[in-house]
Structures are given as structure tokens and as C-alpha cells.
Amino acid sequence: MSEAALPPTRIALVGNPNTGKTALFNALTGGRQKVANYAGVTVERKEGFLTTPGGRRLSVLDLPGTYSLRARSPDEVVTRDVVLGRLAGEAAPDVVVAVADATNLRLVLRLILELKAVGRPMVLALNMYDIAQRQGLRIDLEGLGRELGCPIVTTVATRKRGITELAEQVDALVESGALATDNAWHEPSAAEIRSAHRDAQRLLKAHVRPPERPDTLTGRIDSVLLHPVAGLVILLALLFLMFQAVFTWAGPPADAIEGGVAWLGGLVGEWLPDGLIRSLIVDGLFAGVGSVLVFLPQILVLFLFIILLEDLGYMARAAFLMDRIMGGAGLHGRAFIPLLSSFACAIPGVMAARVIDQKRDRMTTILVAPLMTCSARIPVYTLIIGAFIPDRTVGPGLNLQGLVMFGLYAAGIASALAVSFVIRKVFWRGAVEPFLMELPTYKLPSLESVLRNLWLRAEIFISRAGRIIMPLMVLVWVLSTFPGPPPGATDPAIDYSFAGIIGQALQPLFAPIGFNWQMVVALIPGFAAREVAVAALGTVYAVGDAEANVGALGARLAEHWSLATGLSFLAWYVFAPQCAATLGVVKRETNSWGWTAVMFVYMVALAYLASFVVYNVAVALGAG
């Protein structure tokens, strides 16, 4: 029997949030990771593989962080069900690795006592042990291990220390034939939680000597970052810096990608005979994919900020500072993180809403997340602003185009707050969920984990561009190429195509908001993904133009659209649910077509209303 035929030993990492569990997972498994979803839910399933010094193959699951097996959020339900072996399609782990922040043992000890009741063989990894040592915290490993009845390994995941020892301990535990005992876990009552706290307290007193030099850095940083006024100012400055960076840092690489794709398209075009195939590949595929990939730099810059702030421990502070402001609109302070992610893309934003453990707060957050200006709107905004808003300085450091862009972002935020306020009044009748959140100690992010995370985001975006957007670009090309114009036709060929026919048929519906039929055509594929609208406009206005680029397209739009129409199109894009993928994720996350329909309808209604008002006001002011 070959070694590969043996099923790997299954281990699961369980711990509180912010204990460096994912860093430990990365240190254990290196690049050998698979990211997917658990069957039936959209909780990210991270599995990695390694071979222990003893030659045993391990499969490692990085389970979502939790304070208790008494799960309250979908993430925590997965952790509980995997540990209990209850999750369909997921065998119970052979060994549970409890991951603890060595400097913050109190809460995790209570979780470990719960895990012990489950009865699986367990190893305790005391992570961040270097920080504990630096603080002069003394832990009697032997005594604590004896009382907990499990081996303890000290680790420093960010420096890959203790990783081999951890693998060896898992080896030894499996080797010794330790078997799962009966599961005695049940949902603890308040009295049982108190009693577990007392046990944890006793263990701490007996085996842990408090630090001689406790961490004061976090407290000192917090006195600035959580200062009622200075803290908010710093948060706003950070957000401002973030959006500036999205536009300035991403510029050169975006230009390079755009140029590179156009060059490749030209190169391929020379090899192909003139005709339909060349048109499909150059005008359909290359132009389409290029117009999407060009936004990869912006998405990466945005995610870089989000990942850095999260790893630093700042995100919880941002949630603290924003809680009251968001709470006024009926949102949870924690909704700040999903909403901020939604600036990159509503999909990770909607999924990140899982960190909110209260159903109502989570629903509200999901419903308004797509109102935040996602990066897929940036291409549309950039195109229209470039075409219609003069590039003019209106004050020191203030550019009119930048100001309009800021206004669009602000409109998204303001409407998200307003809508969540209405949702709370209409659907929840004002009930407010509790808000409890740990403020983790500040930590320097590890370069490796930031890069790994960033790479993951890039992969997701590229594969999405590949799987959703490429086929759509071909579809748009087909719709706008066939049927060909009759002989002797004088109008542009697209006028005679399917796209033209559909656009002209639907146009009367959109006439009150100033859309012409070419725009309506672009909206159709734009429902699959917002950024597709740019490529679709390119196709609709510049079919046959192999070098279709954003600047030239902007010029074409400026010729064909009035200012009022351009502004109306911008207003439409602030609100419209132009993204099938988001709707799909909302359906999965809410597990309800009803909520998905609510979102779709309210967003279309808002979009139509906003465009109607903007268009008519602009026309009345003479911009028609």
C-alpha cells in the first residue's frame, strides 16, 4: 500500500479570535493550502497539509475563532459542528489543537475546558510565547498540562518557532493511541459558565505568575487612537489616506496592465486572419479582460489597507469609534468592518458580516453593504467623470474630478446609513442587539501573512474575472455583432444587432432618466458585474476598434451623451444592484430569496429615483 493511500490524520485549530491561529496555520502548512467553502454555507474552509517529523501526513483545518462552543454566528456554528463531528461531509478531527494567546489565557482556558468536555485528543499551543516571556509572564507548563490533561507546546507562529514540536506532539498523541472519549459537551448555562470561570481562575492562580512587565504599549496607543476626538480624526485621516492611495498608487501598475493587455491583443491580432475570429479574440476577449484586470491594482491597494489594519488590531478600534455613529442608524459597530470591505467588493463585505453574531444586525449590514462604493464601480465612475467633469483645480489640493468621486462615495455611505435606519424601523421595530467586542493588543503584522492574504484576494478576483466576466464579454460580443448590418447600411453595425434591438426595446423605460439605448445595452451585461459595463460601453460604441481604451471611450461618450445623462448614469451606479454575484452571495448568506428580493427591489427603486431626480434637475439647470 502506498503512503499516499493512507488518509491523513485530521487536526483542527480552535481558539479565541486574535490568538494568531491563522499565523500558526500558515506556519504549519506553508503554501500547501486549499481555500473553499463548507458545504452549504459560505464560511471559508481553510485546509492545509503537512508531513510531521515522524512521517505522518496531517490535514489541518483552520476553524473560525470563537469564545465559546455555544455558537451564535454562522462562523462559530461551523467551529462547533466540526469539533463535535456534526457537520455534514466533515469528519470529526482526530486531534484538536487549542490555540491560545499566552499573554491572555483567561478566556481561552474556559474554552479549553469546554473542548475537554468534547473528549477529543487535544494539544494546547501557547502562541505568542515570546511576548509572554518578554513580559516576564511565567507559566508552569508541566503543571498546567497535567491539570488540563493535554500536552502543551509553546509557539511563536510568526517566527515559525515551536512548529516542529507541535507536529511532534500531534504525532506522539496519535502514536500513543489516544482515542476520543465520550462527548460530554452540552450548551453551558450561566451557572456553568461561572463555574468554568472559577476553574480557569484557579488554574491561572496555581500555574501562571502574572507578568512582571505587563504590556503598556497597547494602553498608550489606545489613549491616542481611542481618544474621543483625536481617535475619530485619525480614523478619518486613515480612510482618506486609504482612498488617496487607491487612486495614486494604483495608477502606474494599472497603466502598465492596460498597455500590456492592449499590446498582447495587438500581437495576437497580427497572427490571426482578419474576420470574425480575430474580432472575437481582440475586441471581445482581450479588450474585455483588459478592462477588468486594470482594476486589480486598486483592489489590492484597498485590501492591503484592510488586511494591515485588521492584523494590527486597529479594526476593532475603528468599530469602537464608529459604533455610536453607526448605532444611530441601527448598525452594529462591528458592521464597520464588512462595510469597509465592501469598498473593495460587496461580496467579501457581505461574507464578512458573519463576524456580527446577531442575526438582525447581520441582515441589516448585508442589505446595505452593496451601497458602499465597491471597486467595480470605480471603472464606471472613472470613465464617466473623466468624460464629463473638467479636470480643474477648485482649491488648494482640491481637484473637481476628485471632489465628484468623493461625493459619490459619500452618497453611498449616507444612503447606507439612511437605509439601515429605515430597515431597523420597518423590519426590527427598533430592537437593539448587545454589542460586545474584544479590543486585541496591537501587534506588528507579519509581512508573510499580509502577502499571503493579499495573494488570496488577487486570486479570487482574477478567477472571478476569468469565470464570470470572460464568458460575458463573449456574450456581449455575440449580441453586438450578430446579426450583421444589411448591405448598404449607413448606421453603425451595432444598431442592427441583438444588443441594439434589446436596448431599443427597453429604452422607453429608461427615457425618463435620460438613458439612451446604448446605455441600456451596457446595463444588461452590467448586471452580471458592474465593471463589465465599461467594456460593454466600449463594445457598443467602438466595435471594431481594437485599441479601445478608457480615454478614447470617454471622448466618445462625451460626444454622444449630455452632461445630464452622464450624471444620471453616475447616480444610477451609486444605487443599482448591478451585480449578479452579490445577489447570489446575499441569497446564500441570508438563506432567503425574500431578503434577496428586498435588496434588489429597494436598490433598483433608489437607483431609478436618484437618476430621475439628478437627470431632471440637471436638465432644468441647462445641462440637458
Partner: protein, 108 residues
Amino acid sequence: MHETVGAPVAPAEVGASAEGLVRLSQARPGDHGVIAEVRADHATEHAVDVHELERRLLEFGFVEGAAFEVLHQGLFGADPIAVKLDDMRVALRRRDAADVWVRLEADR
């Protein structure tokens, strides 16, 4: 919005007050002491039932005997508050903190 801040203590709770206990929701930054009792009652209206709130507070370490210090509060309505709880820091809203009774200690 946060009707618990500075709310007068209801007659039924005077007994607790007489023991020198106050609600954590009434504490100001710098106040410190020991958690005396976690007792979810109907002081505020919540979307979860009182027993669930009590368990959540307990799971975050708001448990009898834990040392605490109020560190920070938000700009608007002095809400939420950041509390140092033994070795960790927890943020919570004053309305949720109302169910935690504490014994304040004099400045060190």
C-alpha cells in the same frame, strides 16, 4: 438612545446600591474596581432575552470577582465604553453594561 446613563436607580435596586454597588453603565473613564454581580434584568430592552445577555457577558469575562477599569468612552453620548478586564480589553455599549454591577475602588 442610551437611557441607562445616569438613570435613577429604581427602588427595587436600592438594596444593591446600599451595598455600594453601581451599574458599570454609570462608570466613567478612570473608574476601577471589582465586578460584584452580573445580573441581567430588564433595565434595558434588548433583542435577546436576559439570560442570553447574561451568558454573553460572562463569556466575555464579565464575571464576579474580575478586576476592571473603564479606559475610554466614545465621543457621542459617552458611548460605547472600553473596559480593561483583568488582562484583556473589551468594548461594550452602556446599555449592555447596565447589567454588570460593580464595586468601585478609591483611586490608587
